[in-house]
């Protein structure tokens, strides 16, 4: 009942509807990759190296090994989607726990935690991820872990400030004076109030995670060849930008559109979850 109502409100916003549609398309691509792909991803068609779009039965053309770009793009959606879900999952879960602890307890606990987060924030995003990859070693799982960890400081900061606004609310005092424990207050009163903030921030970070994976793969630290990801495809394309621009254009568009989709959904969610806009 309430879920249906929620979706009806969500779809009333055109932004959110477009965003949701884009994400559903990526989801379908990822789930049914073998059915949608026209070629095997690692099959090399030496008769058609650097094929232009449409040439030799290759919808988006081929790359330097004669591999079908369309099929690689379809399979690449799996990596991008997984990176988005896992990295945002790690970042939002740990970021929320840290943010709630810092915001709720305040004082010295807050100061110590937030100074550590500040220290992490002071590194450039990509540099921190690269440093982490250097320690963990390259690979998809490590890339997701690194991207997730890099998200923690900003996430915990957002959650902390949300917790702090609710910590001093009178309904929290009321619960304490009824004998409610700190854990009770967090679970029953504070979390339900900050969950919209968490969802929105997570949806915005989704796009960031896909770009980060592309960045790490572009630098050769993410997914290892020959498995395709949008980022690694872009990375391979950089040497042939002048001769075969289609190698870069299609994964570029895929990253752009998916990020747009997540950002639009995030904006839409913010509108729907704002109680002031409810009827």
């Amino acid at each position: 009942m309430r879920a249906a109502q929620f979706f009806r409100r969500l779809l009333r916003s055109k932004q959110a509807a477009v965003g949701l549609f884009v994400i559903l398309v990526i989801l379908v691509l990822a789930l049914f990759s073998p059915l949608i792909a026209t070629h095997e991803v690692e099959d090399m068609d030496f008769m058609h190296i650097f094929a232009l779009p449409g040439e030799g039965g290759h919808l988006f053309g081929t790359d330097d090994y004669g591999r079908d770009l369309f099929s690689r793009l379809v399979y690449g959606s799996r990596v991008s989607l997984m990176v988005g879900i896992v990295a945002v999952g790690i970042g939002s879960l740990l970021g929320t726990i840290i943010g709630v602890i810092a915001g709720f307890f305040g004082g010295l606990v807050d100061s110590i935690i937030m100074r550590i987060m500040d220290a992490l924030l002071s590194f450039p995003y990509v540099l921190l991820a690269i440093a982490m990859m250097a320690v963990l070693g390259p690979g998809l799982f490590n890339a997701m872990l690194a991207i997730g960890i890099v998200m923690i400081p900003s996430f915990s900061r957002v959650v902390r400030s949300a917790v702090m606004t609710y910590r001093n609310e009178e309904f929290v005092t009321a619960a304490r004076l009824m004998g409610g424990s700190g854990l009770w207050v967090i679970m029953f009163h504070i979390l339900p109030n900050i969950i919209p903030t968490i969802i929105i921030y997570a949806s915005l970070n989704f796009a960031g995670a896909i770009i980060s994976e592309a960045t790490l793969s572009f630098l050769g630290l993410g997914i290892q060849p020959p498995t395709p990801s949008w980022g690694s495809m872009l990375s391979e394309a950089k040497n042939y930008l002048q001769t075969a621009p289609n190698m870069a254009i299609f994964p570029g568009i895929a990253i752009l559109v998916s990020c747009l989709g997540f950002n639009l959904l995030g904006d839409g969610l913010r509108d729907v979850l704002d109680p002031r806009l409810r009827s």
Partner: protein
Amino acid sequence: MKLLEIRNLTKRFPIEDSIFGKPVKFLKAVDDVSFEVDKGGVFSLVGESGSGKSTIARLICGAYHATSGEILYKGNPIGRTKTDYRNIQMIFQDPDASLNPRKNVFSIIEEGLRIHRLGSMRERREKVLTILDSVGLDRSTIKKFPHELSGGQKQRVSVARSLILQPELLVLDEPTSALDVSVQAQMLNLLGDLQKEFSLTYVFITHDLKIVSQISDHVAVLYLGNIMEIGPVDQIIDSPLHPYTQGLLESVPQPDPSKKATNEILRGEIPSPVNPPKGCPFITRCPKAFEACTIKPELKLVGDRRVRCHLYDTGGNSDA
């Protein structure tokens, strides 16, 4: 029987230096306050904002630790135990702030039972429905959210939430001042009925003297954290002794427009409790102040009540 005894209760709040966080000054919110509340009685605390009445309420409920002094409940010092939290409940002024906007009426009222792990899910549901009847809300309200209710309904929900734990003492912090005047009377009647029905004891905090005479049997008038006058309500309302109480009573708006308000006494603002005046706290606004008032008066017994004023130095027996 005395349900609640407050002895020499003092609460100071540190005012911290903005850079180093060291307390540089103290705000004395409650200054050596003593009073007793009989079981089944209604004790009112009146005063302007900043008089310390809400601080006393929160001290009784355990939200703050007292700086010094004692709060005895049934003869024992009050502790932060589960039973004390059950037996003493508080009702807040603004139901918009004290009800979680994301919880429906059922979960709001049920909360206390869940905190104290009382009853099965079915028993809790039964209890919530019964209590809704007691506070005069329709049973269909349980599915609604606070923003779908009127101010009076919201305050009824918060009363229901407090009553579900079957408390003995209810501390009401201006429970009617956020409501429309028409709803205030209903709310007061409800509170009066509930008091009889559940044999409750009330500590009633208000700035409205009309309400005091209507609901309570004893009253303490607070000014800058000090009790200025304390005693049976009919005596204090009918013939106030302290110039401050007189001023408060004068400032009650008269429903009859032909009677002109003679608000001559209460001019100006209550001084900052950070820098209270030396001597009598009321000296800065008192129309009857004289030389003796530069020394802080003690609470002195005058008849059945006690008054903190040098005007009654002779005649009354000194209680100090």
